[in-house]
Symmetry: C2
Subunit: 216 residues, 2 copies
C-alpha cells in the first residue's frame, strides 16, 4: 500500500469536508433535530446516501461539526501569565472573540444551540478541557487582583460577561440586524469591539491600550 496522499485523502476527505461545511450551515440555522440529512445532502450537492456513507449517522455528523467548532477556539489568553499586562491580554481576548463572531458565526450559533439544549454532546469537552481552561484563567485573574493590577472582580462573572457580550454578535445577529436596520459590517464589529473593551477594561480599573481606544 503505497501512499498517494493527495488522492487518497482528497476523494474522501474532500467530500467529508464539503459535507461538514454544508452540515454546519444547516445545523446552525435549524438546530440538530430541525435539520434533515436530506437537506444537508442537498446543500452539499450530493445524494443523501452519500452523506450517510461518510458519516454513518446524523448524530456522528453533528458531532464532527461540533468538534470542528471547538477546534477553532484557541486564543492568546490560553497562554497568558500572571506577569502579563491584564489590559493588553483582556483587550486582545475581547478583540479575538468578536472577530470570531464575525468570521465564524455559524460555529458560535451551533455551540449556543448545543448549550441551550443542555449540551448532551459535550461531556468530555466540558468535564476536562474547558473546566481546566477556566480554572487556569481564573487563577491568573485572581493573581492580577492580588497584585492590584486590576480591581477586585469575580473572575467567573468577568469571563462570562466577556463571552456573552462578544458571542452575542454571532448568536443574536438576527436581532442585532433588525434593531440596527442593517447587517453588521467589519467597521461595525470593530466599533462594537471598542465599546466592549472600553466597558470591561474601564470596569476593571484599567486603561484602554491606545490601539483599542475609540478613534474619535
Amino acid at each position: 500500500m503505497t501512499v498517494n496522499k493527495s488522492s487518497e485523502a482528497s476523494v474522501g476527505e474532500k467530500n467529508k469536508q464539503k459535507i461538514v461545511q454544508a452540515a454546519e450551515q444547516v445545523f446552525a440555522q435549524q438546530g440538530f433535530k430541525g435539520s434533515s440529512v436530506q437537506q444537508i445532502a442537498d446543500t452539499a450537492g450530493l445524494p443523501k446516501t452519500n452523506v450517510l456513507y461518510y458519516f454513518k449517522t446524523k448524530q456522528s455528523l453533528y458531532q464532527a461539526v461540533l468538534q470542528h467548532t471547538l477546534s477553532l477556539w484557541n486564543s492568546r489568553f490560553d497562554q497568558a501569565q500572571a506577569t502579563d499586562d491584564p489590559a493588553e491580554i483582556l483587550a486582545e481576548y475581547i478583540s479575538e472573540k468578536i472577530d470570531m463572531s464575525r468570521t465564524h458565526p455559524l460555529s458560535s450559533k451551533i455551540f449556543a444551540m448545543e448549550i441551550l439544549n443542555g449540551g448532551p454532546n459535550l461531556d468530555t469537552y466540558f468535564n476536562h478541557e474547558q473546566v481546566s481552561w477556566m480554572k487556569g484563567r481564573v487563577a491568573i485573574i485572581e493573581s492580577w487582583i492580588n497584585q492590584q493590577k486590576i480591581v477586585a472582580v469575580d473572575p467567573y462573572y468577568l469571563l462570562f460577561t466577556i463571552w456573552a457580550s462578544t458571542q452575542h454578535y454571532a448568536d443574536f445577529s438576527e436581532q442585532v440586524t433588525r434593531l440596527r436596520g442593517e447587517k453588521m459590517k467589519k467597521v461595525d464589529f470593530d466599533h462594537a469591539k471598542r465599546t466592549v473593551i472600553q466597558l470591561v477594561l474601564t470596569g476593571c480599573g484599567l486603561t484602554v491600550p491606545l490601539c483599542y481606544q475609540s478613534s474619535q
Copy 2:
C-alpha cells in the same frame, strides 16, 4: 352549578394555561422542531388530541408560548427620561434583567432559540414594538451623553452588552453550571448582578449606587 365565571373560564382557560406551561418547558429544552405535541401533552398530563383541541396547530401553540414570553419583558427603563439618573436606571435595568434570568429562564431560552433560528415568528414584534423601544432608549442614552452624565459610548452596543451579559445566565445556564461546579443560587445571581453592574456603570464613567455595590 350557578353561573360562576371562575368555573366557566377555569375549565378551558386553566387547561390552556397548563398546556402553555408544559409547552414552555418542552420547547425550551428541545426547540420548536425538536418538540413533539405528544411530549407536550404527556408533560401536561393530557391526551394529545386534547392539546390540539385548544391549539389547532403546534405552531399556534408555540406562538402562544412566545407571546407569553414577550409579555414578561417590561422594565422600569421603559419609562426612563433624559432627566433621570443614568446610574440608577442602568443599575436597576441590569438588576431586573438578571432577576428575569433567574426567575424565568425558560422564557429567555425560548426567545434565544427563536432568534438563533432567524426569528421567523417575530416579525410584528421586531418591526414595531422592539424597534421603537430601542430608538427611545437610544435617544435617552444619547441625551445622557450630551449632558455629559455618562461617557461617550455607542448606545446600541451598550444595550447589546447589557442584554448579552444578563441573559447569559439563563441561556447558557448549562455551561455556567458545569464550569462553576454547581447550580447558580440566588446569592450567586446577586453576585453576578453586582459584577455586571460594576463593569457597565464604571465603564460608562458612573459611580455604582450604594445598594448595588459589592458588599465586601
